[in-house]
Amino acid sequence: MKKFILRRLLLGIFVLLGVTLITFFLTRVVPSDPAAKWVGPRATPEQIAQATIELGLDKPLYIQFQKYLGDLLQGNLGYSLRTRRPIMQDLKENLPATIELVFISTIAAVFIGIPLGVISAKRKNQMVDHISRLFSVGVVSLPTFWVGLILQLIFFRILGIFPLGGQLSTQIKISMDIPNITGFLMFDSLITGNFKIFFNALWHIVLPGITIGLFPVGLVARMTRSALLEILSEDYITAARSYGLNERVVLWSYALKNSIGSTSTVVALSIGYTLVNTFLTEAIFSWPGIGSYIATAVIGLDYPAIMGVTIFSAFSYVLLNLVADIIIAMDPRVRA
């Protein structure tokens, strides 16, 4: 087991190196004017020249890469052209809001998607199954950004029961003191007993939450269903039934545990999709997270920021997959 983790870690490091190489390639080698991209469209020639020296663009590639890698390891992602602050700092500020959304979508994927898949597999070809499958395939065919817009149209414009966007109403933002302990709004307001803020935040997270949560639920439900179908046709399930074991036990313990591998894989994948879907969702709901950060960066051609978010997301995803692979390794067969 330890050997496996070690090997997997090494692979992870190798992959991170590869990711760094690719991003390096994208920022320094591909553009015709990497220095200009670094300092922005309104830079003076002197600034560009200075950037060229700073970035080491006049030096051979491998030295450039060394510098690039060194910067990264120190947490230096450069400066945003728009905010004029270190990108790392911008990311730290914007991260909690995004994590809230990712958290919701993961909870939905695991606690709605998996059971949906299990029930669908158990009641194969019955009405429940058909509805669930139609729902799943429909939901993964929806463009996330469109869902957000339609939800706004229906629930804000027409029905007027949910807000258009933002994490909190402007009223509250102006009139009240927003607690900032961990940076997670809902958590902070809860532990400081500030229920008015908490419920307001809750009210605001509904629409973005649904928007971001639909895809993972559908994806996970689909995968879980097909994994379970295969498992349920295995001999050990028949054997378990023959011993008179409770069908609920057979399904949710005996069968489900065999799907840990594929389930973790698909949950990790759905988080990956979610990470990028936040870019789209936050833009629509003016949600102050990394997504709107990069969306604004794209429009403003803030290349350093774009790359910063890309590197950050890629690294997070690699780590996530590492964790997922380790969970998979808990399947006793893999350890052998």
Partner: protein, 297 residues
């Protein structure tokens, strides 16, 4: 040149199975329905200029007096902020989406499949190198790499397509390589190797025909995924640029107006949804038919 014909020959058993699969597909109502819709979409895309009542962009399309009109008999989907007929724009959008999706998926297969066949067929060092490269590419969250590449290459539809090809090819490599490895260990391949059959022949004659089915399944599901990706890229401003009537771009532009002009967001989005849905359904159907384990017998 001969290897090209060899390649075509290797696909033949796969193609025969495909034909049988299509026949089987037709038996399920939902699949049949999807197939019909897909054919309809393809026809719409091909005959767009004939079907669309108005031109989709350029000055001739704009009608300054008819800005942001609700759907009516004259303008089936309403008009946009420049007075252009949304229905025509959505129809032309079909062409763009299908075209780019097919090309992107095709190119990704063209790059990914041979790499995977080589990796799986040769094994050893080539396998290791190719698979590590694949791992690196696959470790990016889906779409992220496409965003980064598109941003740096310059935002336009062609670059978006290119960035998709670069993000997508590893999936095919992985599939083919996995298949190749398991096929390589089978008796008949061992037999071929033992009599000294050259490697490239083994790859073409033995590995590829047997490995193709999962690739077809993946490709059919990918077309839907790529359409979504292109729409998302365009929505962010990284793909199609105005005045191209790409669906994602239409929705992006609509954001300013849609709260008072519901049709502007709704119809392009519906178009995306339906198109991706039917491709996903067909993909499901193809997978059910081609996967020997889930076949109905």
């Amino acid at each position: 040149m001969r290897w090209f014909f060899d390649f075509i020959k290797t696909l033949q058993p796969g193609i025969r199975e495909l034909r049988m699969s299509f026949y089987l597909l037709n038996r399920n109502r939902l699949q049949r329905f999807s197939l019909i819709i897909i054919i309809a979409l393809v026809l719409v895309a091909i005959f767009a200029p004939v079907i669309a009542p108005y031109p989709s962009h350029a000055i001739s399309a704009t009608n300054p007096d008819d800005k942001l009109l609700a759907p009516s008999a004259k303008y089936l989907f309403g008009t946009d902020e420049l007075g252009r007929d949304l229905f025509s724009r959505v129809i032309y959008g079909t062409r763009i989406s299908l075209q780019t999706a097919l090309i992107a998926v095709g190119l990704a297969m063209l790059v990914g499949v041979p790499l995977g066949a080589i990796a799986g067929g040769l094994g050893g060092v080539a396998d290791e190198i190719i698979m590590r490269i694949t791992d690196v590419f696959l470790s990016f969250p889906p779409l992220l790499l496409a965003i980064a590449i598109a941003a740096f290459l310059g935002p336009n539809l062609e670059n978006a397509m290119l960035s998709i090809v670069i993000s997508w090819w590893p999936w095919y490599t992985r599939i083919i390589r996995g298949q190749a490895v398991s096929i390589r260990e089978r008796q008949f391949v061992r037999a071929a190797r033992s009599i000294g059959t050259p490697v490239h022949r083994i790859i073409f004659n033995h590995i590829l025909p047997n490995a193709f089915a999962p690739v077809i399944v993946q490709a059919s599901m990918d077309i839907g995924g790529v359409i979504l990706t292109i729409a998302s890229l365009s929505f962010l401003g990284l793909g199609a640029q105005p005045p191209t009537p790409e669906w994602g771009l239409l929705i992006s532009t609509s954001r300013t107006y849609f709260l008072n002009a519901w049709w502007y967001s709704t119809f392009p989005g519906l178009a995306i949804f339906i198109t991706v849905l039917v491709f996903n359904l067909i993909g499901d159907g193809i997978r059910e038919v081609l996967d020997p384990r889930t076949r109905k017998f």
